[in-house]
Amino acid sequence: MAHLSAENLDRARRLVAVYPKSRSALIPLCHLAQSQDGYLTEEAMVDIAELTGVTAAEVRGTATFYDMLHTEPVGDYVIAMCTNIACLLGGAYELLEHAEGRLGVHIGQTTADGNFTIEEAECLAACDTAPCVQVNHRFFGPLDGAGFDRLIDDLTAGRLVDQVPRHGVLNRVERTVGLLTENESEARA
């Protein structure tokens, strides 16, 4: 019935329990759903709505406000390239042009093999390593064209699997502790 796996449903219920109001778990649950499916599916939104006490439309309405939540499929590796002021001064647009040429796609597009999506990002708070990029929110920089090509080669060859999990997996460290016991959180819910 539920789209989320039994394991993820269990995780989801634990996430809901740490907040005084269940809707506060909405964004963490969207991240959880993306970690399962790579993006936020229609079916997952229905589950999240049920878990947080809102409608699926409200989940979508909230999720579409945020850059990290994708309601359409994306590549296994989403490459976010910053072109904001510090990266611009470090040659970010030249790097972006190189990246589009190397991958044969433009900003917002995914390569035919489904491996890579390129996004133009706003400042990623790593301006001392300009121009910087993130792959699935893991930092790389400063990069020039050759460095970018090596990065793509490494990702393609699977040499960075430990460092860069597939798109959607954000925080691999789970909360293992809490003030509330399960009974208390159930009582409060």
Binding site: V18, Y19, P20, K21, R23, S24, A25, L26, I27, P28, C30, H31, T52, V54, G61, T62, A63, F65, Y66, D67, M68, L69, A80, T83, N84, I85, A86, L88, L89, G91, Y93, E122, C123, L124, A125, A126, C127, D128, A130, Q134, N136, H137, R138, F139, L170, N171, R172, V173, E174, R175, T176, V177, G178, L179, L180
Partner: protein
């Protein structure tokens, strides 16, 4: 010669394992919390008052005063703002990844002082490693007995939640952050009430403090508010973590005693910025994040001081300094900043949503060579509609300060480099070839 105090918040960062509880405890970690729990909450708050610690998020509001405004209620919250997104700012990112326990300890002390019921650390979603480090530190601190029930046997109990953002600059605005934490779109709330201290998370009294602000608290409790206030001058006390980027040889973060260092030192001293790339000429710099008006080389001798920068017509803001040199096309730089605000506007208020959109389009057409001379007046007219008078600090026509920040870079660039705009218009292209 740079005179600098010993670092307060970055003193652990040189250690490879600075983010672990082992290193934290070996370097005095959680001693501030132990000390605080032997004091009354009022006495803890008084130390922070004495320190005159100004909030490090961008607005520079005194932290102690923020705490004292908290409406008394059975349920109240501490929310730590780690949604660092102001372009060119990368200090909280560093503190989150390299010293998460320091943030957690500062938050626990603060929660004790203000009597909060629960702590939320809102971490920018794009900081995947930071989120992992924060959650690991939270788990470690629970196991150590620093979070949870009856902390260190002192009778104080509290829960702490690491909350991920999902990518939206506007959520750095504290009321938008609270909306987001409630599981909604990040729309800033109508003011008044001006402060979440009265009406915050779930309508309950809430203190929202920045990551760097929290990082200073353990040191203040261990060393005393007076020792902190003895650093810096006037209202700008303690040290501050400055983020330097752009056309300098040594971009990076530098923790400096407030007021004692000038922008010239920060940008040119060999131990700091090291001067301009290829020994070029500095053209302009932004003193405190892209919301701030720009300065020219004539302002280089200003101190890194909140009041001094304010009096000179800009702000120290988030402590991030961006350097532009003679290879920089200022039209392109100002256009890119404008496009950022246009994209990140939440869309609630017309001056910001429409004004930002038109300003971006006009700036782009000038940079691409399709501009007209009348565009300069048109730009200033649109700026005037967003922030009447185009002065600093700006007049506000919108719910939050994002809108009134849009004119900063445009007005600065036109005032300082009118000739370059005209050169674009006359040449019908970017005279610098659009480079950099």
């Amino acid at each position: 010669m740079i005179t600098n105090a010993d670092p307060i918040i970055t003193r652990r960062i040189a250690f490879e394992d600075s983010y672990t509880i082992e290193r934290y405890l070996a370097t005095g970690g959680y001693e501030g919390l132990r000390r605080a729990l032997t004091m009354t909450p009022e006495a803890v708050a008084e130390e922070v008052n004495k320190a005159s610690l100004l909030g490090r998020g961008g607005a520079g509001f005194p932290a102690g005063r923020k705490w004292s405004m908290l409406r008394q209620a059975p349920t109240s919250y501490l929310v730590v703002n780690g949604d660092e997104s102001e372009p060119a700012t990368f200090k909280d990112h560093l503190l989150i990844e390299r010293d998460p326990h320091q943030i957690i300890e500062g938050s626990l002390i603060t929660a004790y002082a203000i009597g909060a019921s629960q702590i939320f650390i809102f971490c920018r979603g794009e900081f995947a490693l930071g989120l992992e480090r924060l959650q690991a530190a939270c788990n470690e601190a629970y196991a150590y007995g620093a979070i949870g029930k009856n902390i260190f046997g002192a009778g104080f109990s509290i829960d702490l939640v690491i909350h991920p953002g999902a990518g939206a600059y506007i959520c750095g605005e504290e009321t938008a952050l609270l909306e987001s934490l409630e599981g909604k779109r990040g729309f800033p709330r109508i003011k008044p009430p001006f402060f979440p201290a009265v009406n915050g998370l779930y309508g309950q009294p809430t203190v929202v403090n920045n990551i760097e602000t929290m990082s200073n608290i353990p040191w203040i409790i261990l060393n005393g508010g007076d020792a902190f206030a003895a650093l810096g001058t006037g209202a700008s006390t303690g040290t501050r973590l400055f983020a330097l980027s752009g056309r300098v040889k040594r971009p990076g973060w530098y923790e400096l005693e407030m007021s004692k260092t000038t922008f010239r030192d920060l940008i040119f001293d060999p131990s700091l910025g090291g001067g301009i790339i290829d020994d070029g000429t500095i053209k302009a710099f932004i003193p405190g994040g892209v919301s701030a008006p720009w300065f020219g080389p004539d302002q280089l001798d200003l101190g890194l001081d909140q009041e001094a920068v304010g009096k000179a017509g800009s702000m120290l803001g988030s402590g991030s300094v961006v350097v532009m040199d003679d290879t920089t096309c200022v039209v392109r730089a100002a256009w890119r900043i404008t496009r950022f605000f246009h994209r990140e506007s939440c869309g609630q208020c017309t001056p910001c949503r429409e004004g930002g959109t038109w300003l971006e389009q006009i700036m782009r057409r000038i940079e691409e060579g399709g501009g007209r001379e009348s565009d300069l007046d048109l730009l200033m007219d649109v700026c005037d509609n967003i922030a009447p008078g185009v002065s600093w600090p700006p007049q506000q026509t919108t719910i939050c300060v994002l809108g009134p920040s849009i004119p900063s870079s445009i007005a600065s660039a036109i005032r300082m480099f009118r000739d370059e705009f005209l050169a674009h218009i006359e040449a019908g292209c970017c005279p610098m070839g659009g480079a950099r």
